[in-house]
């Protein structure tokens, strides 16, 4: 081979092996968004970002719109602050109340006579709804705060798996909660209607700060407020939760509205239930016992629910209350 031909072949080989195409990494696929207009710039010029679709669902063409951004702002900024403030302020208020007042104790000796305050079915209904609510609250709070508080602690993969299961649990446990709520409405609505003792009870905040004992029926005004919060809040959660559980019955605006209602109601109800848990455990001597065993001491009933006791007569044998017979005039 002539020298000139050898030089040409060598030059060709050098050119091939040093060409950019040979030097490139194995994958040469372009990044389609590298040169695209930034999202924020698009949103400034056009309030909507939308494309074209050939599928029947025309809404699928909308990628971003003002309403969606408002919803995102609510979900990512307003809701965590609102829910966090509701829960933290409630806890601080309860701690301050406990520090100032301490537990509400009996100011008279126990009588040693137990009377029935809640039947077995009533206690079953209470704990069914309560245990459901605790699961729903924990899983619901995970949706709001989990990625901020829990994910940095347990990592992305563990948080992803946990959140997937909390979603399943939230949807499934919603049904026993709704069942319990319906039973609570039927069981206790009659005892939670306003009566003549409520105004004075509310005016004096139950006498908790002045150490006075105000007459009350089976439930005092504070318990009635808890009851109606649970009933009305539970119904709002049920209605909005069903919209979220069976989506696309309403359009996307309806689903987002349901989410607003669901999240705000849940945050408020969680704060209310924290107060209920406080007064039922740390806050009042004998309150938890009444919901576990169903019985209270006669002295407890005299102090906290004197009007209820006055309207009913404890049976001497088993402590069951019976309506007092009113003598004919």
């Amino acid at each position: 081979m002539p020298l000139r031909s050898k030089a040409c072949a060598l030059a060709l080989l050098v050119a091939i092996f040093t060409s950019p195409a040979w030097a490139q990494p194995e994958n040469t696929a372009p990044n389609p968004t590298a040169q695209s207009i930034p999202e924020q710039q698009l949103l400034k010029e056009r309030r909507r970002i939308e494309g074209r679709v050939t599928i029947p669902d025309r809404n699928a063409r909308i990628l971003e719109q003002p309403q969606g951004r408002q919803y995102q702002a609510f979900h990512e900024h307003v809701l965590p602050r609102l829910a966090g403030a509701a829960i933290i302020l409630t806890l601080v208020a309860l701690a301050a109340f406990y520090a100032r007042r301490g537990p509400i104790t009996l100011d008279r000796p126990l009588r040693g006579v137990k009377i029935t305050r809640f039947s077995a079915f009533e206690r079953f209904t209470h704990w069914l709804t309560a245990s459901s609510f605790i699961v729903l609250a924990v899983t619901g709070l995970n949706f709001v705060f989990g990625k901020r508080l829990l994910m940095p602690l347990i990592g992305d993969d563990a948080f992803s798996a946990w959140t997937q299961w909390t979603k399943y649990a939230h949807d499934a446990v919603a049904w026993p909660f709704m069942f319990g709520l319906a039973m609570m409405i039927v069981l206790w609505i009659g005892d939670n209607l306003p009566d003549r003792y409520d105004r004075e009870w509310l005016k004096q905040f139950g006498g908790f700060l002045s150490n006075r004992h105000l007459p009350a029926g089976r439930f005092n005004a504070g318990q009635k407020l808890i009851y109606w919060s649970v009933v009305l809040g539970g119904l709002a959660l049920t209605a909005s939760g069903l919209v979220l559980m069976f989506p696309y019955v309403f359009d996307i605006a309806g689903i987002q509205f349901a989410q607003y209602v669901h999240a705000v109601t849940a945050a408020i109800l969680t704060a209310v239930i924290l107060a209920h848990i406080y007064i039922g455990t740390l806050g009042m001597q004998g309150a938890l016992e009444s919901m576990i065993s169903g019985e209270v001491d006669l002295a407890w009933a005299e102090q906290h629910h004197s009007a209820w006791l006055a309207d009913n007569q404890p049976h001497p044998a088993d402590g069951h209350l019976e309506k007092r017979s009113i003598p004919a005039e």
Partner: protein
Amino acid sequence: MRIILASIMAVILLAVAAGLIFASTQKLVYEARALPTVRIDDDPGHNLVGPDWSGLPTSSAPEQASHVTRRELGAATPE
């Protein structure tokens, strides 16, 4: 205390029953919203374009497999 345990058992039973009914009557979004001409992938959460925009789950996967599903690819290519 027996009442509390009974109520917790009832919650579990009702929740499991509700979950089973859901599982038998509802479809996942990627199944329910798919159309004959539109596939929403068979693996929710999977990045359709892949980490390096090649359409492949991993850069080491064979290039001609870009149209196959991740499940099919997973059988051939360890990740």
